[in-house]
């Protein structure tokens, strides 16, 4: 659309690089360096070898934990997508309620993890609000176990991560020319078909960004599963913490490397999807 934007990215233009330099240096010193040091431990602790990696294929605990972490991330990503997309749509469609919706979306950002944990316990507990209400309504005879189950983890993580799904989608929806929906309608498309054939495909870059963010963030979750999750729920981050605590730093570093590699692989895969890589570049304004 805007051709001049592409020209500005010519190799001769060093201004963007210079503008980013302080942050790049900061990230190099305080992020890249520690990460590299940490990754080095996976091949150097206790002695130089690849034995930590070689052991992973036979490591049943690691495999179960890894699969459980991936599974939880998938569920949470789907959950945020299904719940978040309509909210994003509402956010963009209504003018009067947009600020209210936005505040409700951002509220979790401003609430400490402790307050949220209490809230979930109060809500989802064996004698919590949900159970008491269902019992009072006669819908249940005995309270349901929600807290301290994988479902509780998923609910809590969906709650925390919803904004990361809603905001990129809303951003993508907002960038869709409103006349496109009118054009579709005028050309004979029912509201559902307009959504399905025009709005949804055009919002895909936002969906991809949201899915990517939520999935990658969900991979690293730690406090929430420990607090509200089920008795047999161990995430990769929890396993890493446990191994750090046991002073198996080489093994912990190996697990961290796996986590990092998984996240990077997913980012790379998303980036290569046709149109979406472009969309990321377009959205960075």
């Amino acid at each position: 659309m805007n051709m001049s934007g592409r020209d500005a990215r010519g190799p001769k233009n060093l201004v963007p690089l210079l503008l980013a330099a302080p942050l790049l240096l900061f990230m190099l010193a305080f992020y890249a360096l520690p990460v590299v040091t940490m990754l080095m431990r996976s091949v150097s602790d206790p002695a130089w070898s690849l034995s930590h990696y070689a052991a992973l294929p036979d490591d049943a605990v690691f495999q179960k934990v890894f699969l459980n972490t991936l599974y939880t991330s998938v569920i949470v990503t789907l959950g945020t997508l299904l719940l978040g997309y309509p909210v994003a749509l509402a956010l963009v469609r209504t003018r009067r309620w947009a600020p209210v919706i936005l505040i409700l979306i951002l509220l979790p950002f401003w609430t400490s993890v402790l307050v949220r944990s209490y809230a979930w316990m109060v809500l989802m507990g064996r004698h919590g609000l949900i159970n008491e209400a269902l019992l009072a309504a006669g819908l249940l005879e005995r309270p349901l176990r929600i807290l301290n189950t994988p479902l509780a983890t998923q609910i809590a993580m969906i709650h925390i991560l919803l904004p990361y799904m809603i905001l990129p989608i809303a951003n993508a929806l907002r960038q869709i020319d409103p006349s496109l929906a009118r054009a579709a309608s005028g050309l004979g498309a029912t509201p559902w078909r307009t959504f399905r054939q025009v709005i949804l495909p055009l919002s895909m870059p936002g969906v991809a960004a949201g899915v990517l963010l939520v999935f990658v963030l969900a991979l690293g979750f730690y406090i929430t599963p420990a607090m509200v999750g089920g008795p047999r729920e161990i995430t990769l981050s929890m396993l890493i913490a446990q191994q750090v605590d046991q002073l198996n730093w080489g093994y912990a570093a190996t697990l961290s490397a796996v986590l990092l590699a998984t996240a990077l692989a997913i980012i790379a895969a998303c980036y290569r999807l046709p149109g979406i890589g472009n969309a990321f570049r377009m959205n960075t304004r």
């Binding site: 009118r182 054009a183 050309l187 004979g188």
Partner: protein, 372 residues
């Protein structure tokens, strides 16, 4: 069906639209005939686009009725109205190819794939873009995008095509080409076009009839030459073409001609804007209007064809400015009472050019003098 031709007839009755109690359209009644090319012309904020959007169904009227082929469509959602529409910014779907864009309305109507491909091909031929089907909109120039939008709006053979300033974003050369193409398309298809523009020249060139809109109302409807020659109001006279305005006082009425005094001279004028001149009383202050190119210097060598034999108005003036503009000369004149006027004269080496400060007598036909 009420409309016998290929085009739909559209009838607007007391149509109103208000936003927060501010009226954008304040009571428009208009009958658009089957197969007609009608332009809604007006400055921005005059309500022309809002009127169009109500016909398309994107805006709900606050009051009044819209009937297409004598059937009210007010309660009908846009996707059931079967109206073609071209937007100012083209509104092409960026994620679909040209062929998919044009095929979109066909797909909604359940047209089979093979048939769709055939119709899309024909539509591309019609807008002179054969072979462009696989491209994406962003790979096309503005003019090409406009043709695609046009093809998409007509491929499903609607009986009515709405266009909202479709040429507004294009340069002058391209605009003129496309104006001609749209005229041709209109003639070929025979369907009803409703066209919105603020460009009076465009409106005059293309339309069968023009509805001039101002402040949410239709100021005048008519053929381009009617509007130009017989504006019914000062607004129309001023908005379409250039006009001189002469303040005058009514002195009498002769049949359908008003006699009015202006700067000591008695001028005769027609008054097409009124049902009859009878309500006018002697002594009433009125405004007369006339076109600059219809004035001439009374002692000049050049005579306009319209002037021969017809009754004339005459006025004494002083030349205050003289501009030679190639094909014509343009003079600023001042009457004795201070009224400024413009006179345009075809340039010719045979005609003496007037100097600034020169006294002159100008004359023009009574038929070109309108009381507004």
């Amino acid at each position: 069906m009420a409309g016998a031709g290929r085009g739909a007839s559209v009838s607007l009755t007391d149509l109103e639209k208000s936003y927060d109690r501010v009226a954008a359209v304040a009571g428009v009644s208009l009958d658009i005939r089957s197969g007609e090319f009608l332009t809604l012309l007006g400055p921005s904020g005059s309500g022309k686009t809002t009127t169009l959007m109500m016909i398309a169904g994107f805006e709900m009227p606050t009051a009044g009725d819209i009937a297409i082929d004598a059937k009210s469509v007010v309660a009908m959602p846009p996707y059931r109205r079967n109206i073609g529409m071209v937007f100012q910014n083209y509104a092409l779907f960026p994620h679909l190819t040209v062929a998919e864009n044009i095929g979109f309305p066909l797909k909604q109507r359940g047209v089979a794939k093979a048939e769709r491909a055939k119709l899309v091909g024909e539509a591309l031929e019609l807008v002179h873009l054969p072979g462009y089907g696989e491209r994406y909109p962003r790979q096309l120039s503005g003019g090409q995008q406009q043709r695609v939008a046009l093809a998409r709006a007509i491929v499903f053979k609607p009986r009515l095509l709405l266009m909202d300033e479709p040429l507004g974003a294009l340069d002058k050369q391209l605009r003129e080409n496309l104006q001609l193409e749209m005229r041709r398309l209109h003639a070929d298809l025979g369907i009803t076009f409703i066209y919105v523009t603020h460009d009076q020249e465009e409106a005059l060139t293309m339309s069968d009839r023009i509805a001039v809109m101002n402040e949410g109302l239709v100021a005048q409807v008519g053929r381009p030459e009617d509007l130009y020659d017989r504006p019914s109001s000062r607004f129309v006279a001023g908005f379409i073409g250039e006009s001189n305005f002469l303040p005058a006082i009514v002195r009498g009425i002769e049949d359908d001609v008003v006699v009015a005094e202006c700067d000591g001279a008695l001028l005769r004028a027609l008054c097409p804007g009124r049902m009859s001149p009878s309500p006018l009383a002697a002594g009433e202050k009125v405004m007369l209007t006339t076109r600059p190119e219809r004035l001439r210097f009374a002692d000049g060598a050049w005579h306009s064809p319209s002037s021969s034999g017809a009754p004339q108005n005459r006025l004494s003036v002083t030349v205050t400015e003289a501009v030679f503009a190639g094909e014509r000369c343009r003079y600023m004149l001042q009457a004795g009472d201070g009224t400024a006027m413009v006179l345009k004269e075809p340039s010719s080496a045979a005609i003496r050019r007037r100097a600034v400060g020169e006294q002159a007598e100008i004359a023009w036909s009574v038929a070109d003098t309108i009381l507004v």
